[in-house]
Amino acid sequence: MKKVVSLVMAALLCMSALAGCSSTDGTSSTGGSSTTGGSSAAQTEGTGMSGAITVISREEGSGTRGAFVELMGVETDDGDMTTENAEIANSTSLVQNTVSGNKNSIGYISLGSYDSSAVKAVKVDGVEATVENIKAGKYAVSRPFVLCYKEENLTDLGKDFIKFILSAEGQAIVSEEGYITVNDEAESYTASGLTGNLSLNGSTSVGPVMEVLAEAYMGLNSGVTIDIQQTGSGTGITATIDGSCEIGMSSREIKDEELSQGLTAENIALDGIAVIVNQENTVEDLTSEQIRQIYTGEVTDWSEIG
């Protein structure tokens, strides 16, 4: 027994020691790492990508995932068919971090959070993920940002805040933040002079733009405090239903099951979902069909993508 344990330990120590060598080799000379063999050596430059695809997905129930699987056809009548081998990351930044650190990975994130210095967004069906393309309806992967509330719980302040978001000023902020406006001919907003507290809860995708909107609103109405909690679409909607917050934020359509519990929904913006790969990846363009195949596990190697 003791012998086995010590053998395992020795093996582990050797591995970690080797790991140290290999990482220094890899950084000092580009060709050095090819001696390790296996698929890491198969990453040839210039002649197209190869290597096993690391699929990064969001967790079940995420608004981004819900929209992505629906739009890409990963969701069939049998439910969400995302491959079991997909790595699960539970936030937009973790997806981006993981993809930027792994040559063979692919992921999807909200277009507004896309950082072109860290990762690369691919064209979907030949269309680049840009605000113009989404507005024109050319880019396939987009979804609404929704605010939901209970009519009887909504205060005048809440109403006024929603009015502000849908006004010309509010929509200008939405578009500045990289999202897509829902109303281009919105009227201008005039400060109401209301005071009080407002609580919002919900999607981590909607959260960042909502912070900016709230700041602008508090600048116009000095007596207002807006508290935004970013916990996820599902939590926000539940909190709104049970009355613990006034307005819920969701990055997916509100389900009928939730609407039937007395919620009213209001679309405030559109968001594209960028399909992202590592910057060293030579693939520029994927069809929706290829993305579907990658995410359902039908295609598992970059060499299968021409």
Binding site: S22, S40, E59, G61, E87, L94, N97, N102, T235
Partner: protein, 284 residues
Amino acid sequence: MKNKLKETVMHVVFFLTACVSIAAVLIICVYLLGNGIPTIAEIGLENFFGITWKPSKDLYGIVPFIVGSIYVTAGAIVVGVPIGILCAVYLAYFCPKKLYKILNPAVRLMAGIPSIVYGFFGLMVIVPVIQQLAGTSGKGLLTASILLGIMILPTIIGTAEPALRAVPGSYYEGALALGATHERSTFSVVLPAAKSGVMSGVILGVGRAIGETMAVIMIAGNQTKMPGGLLDGLRTMTSNIVLEMGYSTGLHRRALIATGVVLFVFILIINICFSLIKRGDKAS
């Protein structure tokens, strides 16, 4: 008279503070079991202890996560326990005083580092190394085991070192007098004498490893499938709860609480082991 009143008041105050912690445990128990057990009944034992987790299709099999938790914890033991025990022995019996002044605070500092920082360290340092070495995505059982092994070190050292120091000096001196070397007396006489304290440290470390969440989420891959090998991704029970809590509704949410019940049972088992060892120690 006045003193007596003071005495009684303070008695009540101390009693109440003692009650707070007990009440907290009780409330958590009642809440977990009250929510979890009806949920497990609703889902059905066969479904709940199945191997497929797909909430969108009403499949709530948590066995892959139970196995994941056990694998990761076992991995952490393999990596962390030998290093931890040897380190404790070194600190207690071999370390020069000057070095001890640096090492001891360093080990204590390790315990204070937030787990999310460990997770980030794993993501930025261990993951790329495994990626290069194995040609996989770098996230998985091996990465999680190494990181958790590091994370449980302070727990093990912190309990084992005082236990080693508490061994009466006569044991060590007796061994020396019989002609054993310093090393031999330490490893063959003192270490076995401190066995129960060292084991307590190991078990506390196991508790820490099985309950660890944030760091594991970042480096384990979190796939819902049954873990297949050392380089495969896996998901632990704690990660499952945190990953999906934010967006879950209805039965899905309650299934996560039920996962918590299973985790709670595991922690209970670990704590019972801990007390048994302590009791065994006293009896001997």
